[in-house]
């Protein structure tokens, strides 16, 4: 098995959609189709997993957990 490919979510999604579009083209070779399907399905799995994580993150945030902590500085009264 080859090395896993690193990709950002957005580029991955764009690539997945590109693959889906290319798969809609008629003149695609079987070899290419399989290669694209293998890549596309791999991407789909990774993207879905990512989105699930993101949704959990959102729930955490909604629940007020894991927020960035801020301290409002009060300038000292001279």
């Amino acid at each position: 098995m080859t090395e896993p490919q690193h990709v950002t979510f957005e580029k991955g999604l764009a690539r997945l959609e590109e693959i889906a579009e290319r798969l809609g083209e008629a003149e695609l070779s079987v070899e290419e189709t399989i290669r694209l399907l293998r890549e596309g399905k791999g991407l789909e799995q990774a993207l879905r997993a990512y989105l699930e994580t993101a949704e959990r993150d959102l729930q955490e945030i909604e629940a007020g957990r894991g927020l960035t902590t801020f301290v409002i500085d009060r300038p000292t009264d001279a």
Partner: protein, 449 residues
């Protein structure tokens, strides 16, 4: 003025005085009006005084018999009218004096006229110009007050100032406010307060009085002194028919003590209002700011924006995934179909190729043709034989007839063509005979005809 020629004969001073005395006697009595200068009652009971105007003065004497009737001596500076009976000369002293029988204060009209003249000069000198008057301080550190000791004016002004502005700090410098010494006293007091740097405004106050009583406040010296001060002066002189001259020179003037207070101190009440106003505005703004700020936070409050983002991404992934799944299912089906079509075509072509059996029919045809030919040949034989038979039947030889020919081959039809001895050939069934004609016997009758 006409010039008289100086007399040629010199006269002694005594002679001159005699002549002066004679002239003065001719002058007789009269009334003189002037400002009292030095005035005193001598131990003898006589009163001696000087009356003066701006340019001259004249000595007066009131003999005891008249002086006893005068209870109150006129004060220096006071304007009086003196009725004199004659002019008395004092040759030894080189002076004259008027023998006065009675005195009285000068008339009000006259006093006012003089005040008016003074004002005219002050105006001419620009001392009443508003432009040269110093501005009044808003919050004087200390207020100077020049007034008569224990006067109502003092009490009124103090009360008015403190009523208006309790924290006011006041320095009082008492002065004489009427009489011949009043002007000097007032000027002195003003100067004293002016010298104090803490005193930032001076109130000159006096109650109302007669024109004569108030004369010092129209006095030219006082007015010029006020104009010369570095500290602004506010005058507060009681009710008079005409404003004293100092009012015109002062930085401001007030008709009543309350007005004087308004001019020199701020109103504590107004200040309280300002303070209250400022605080109210400030607090209002502060609360407003907090409200606005809270509203800004509310406006920017984090709404569940993430759901939409995740949702749209999820649907995109799902949509693309569906295309992939569809492709996985159909990726090879079209190709499989094409392959199958190709294979079918091969099979059809294979089946359609001619086999050796395809020639069987042709072979059979050929065989049939051969058979037909054979049959036809046989038929040919039969036809041939039939024809042969017919021909043979027509052959005369077969029926026993003979054919006679000449040696040249010509057929002999008539015996007449032949002569004995000629050679002939006779054709019969079975062969040919060579023969010679032995005799010719022509027919007599035609047997067949």
């Amino acid at each position: 003025m006409s010039q008289r020629p100086v007399e040629a004969v010199a006269q002694s001073p005594s002679a001159i005085w005699r002549r002066i005395g004679g002239s003065l006697a001719e002058l007789g009595g009269g009334v003189v009006e002037g400002e009292v200068q030095a005035c005193k009652r001598a131990p003898s009971g006589h009163i001696y005084m000087d009356l003066a105007d701006d340019e001259a003065k004249v000595a007066c004497v009131i003999w005891k018999e008249h002086a006893d009737r005068i209870t109150t001596l006129p004060e220096p500076g006071q304007l009086i009218q003196a009725r004199f009976s004659r002019v008395r000369t004092y040759p030894k002293g080189g002076s004259i004096s008027l023998e006065v029988n009675a005195i009285r204060a000068a008339g009000e009209g006259e006093l006012l006229r003089r005040v008016e003249e003074t004002l005219t000069r002050l105006i001419a000198d620009g001392l009443t110009d508003a432009a040269r008057k110093p501005p009044l301080p808003r919050h004087p550190r200390r207020i100077g007050l020049v007034t008569g000791r224990g006067s109502d004016a003092e009490a009124d002004v103090l009360r008015a100032i403190w009523d208006r502005y309790p924290p006011a700090r006041i320095s009082v410098c008492h002065a004489l406010v009427q009489g011949v010494h009043a002007v000097a006293s007032l000027v002195d007091a003003l100067g004293t307060l002016d010298a104090d740097p803490a005193v930032e405004v001076i109130v000159l106050a006096r109650g109302g009085g007669s024109v004569e009583d108030l004369l010092p406040f129209s006095d030219e010296r006082l007015c010029r002194a006020i104009a010369a001060l570095s500290t602004p002066v506010v005058t507060s002189i009681g009710h008079t028919r005409q404003r004293p001259n100092c009012d015109h020179v002062a930085a401001a003037c007030a008709d009543v003590p309350g007005r004087a207070a308004e001019l020199v101190v701020p109103s504590a009440e107004e200040l309280r209002t300002r303070i209250g106003h400022a605080v109210e505005i400030g607090a209002g703004l502060a609360y407003g700011q907090l409200r606005d700020t809270a509203a800004r936070i509310d406006r920017s409050a984090m709404r569940p924006a993430g759901e939409a983002v995740i949702g749209s991404r999820t649907s995109r992934v799902t949509l693309a995934g569906r295309t992939l799944d569809h492709r996985v299912g159909t990726a090879t089906s079209a190709i499989d179909l094409r392959l199958r079509d190709g294979a079918d075509a091969l099979r059809t072509a294979l089946t359609a190729l001619p086999r050796p059996e395809h020639l069987d029919g042709t072979r059979a045809g050929l065989e049939a043709s051969a058979t037909a030919l054979a049959h036809r040949l046989t038929l040919g034989h039969a036809q041939l034989s039939g024809a042969q038979r017919l021909i043979r039947a027509r052959d005369w030889r077969e029926r026993g007839f003979a054919l006679v020919r000449l040696p040249g081959g010509a057929i002999v039809h008539d015996v007449g063509a032949l002569a004995a001895g000629e050679r002939i050939t006779i054709q019969l069934k079975g062969g040919v005979l060579d023969a010679s004609i032995d005799a010719v016997h022509p027919d007599e009758t035609e047997p067949d005809a």
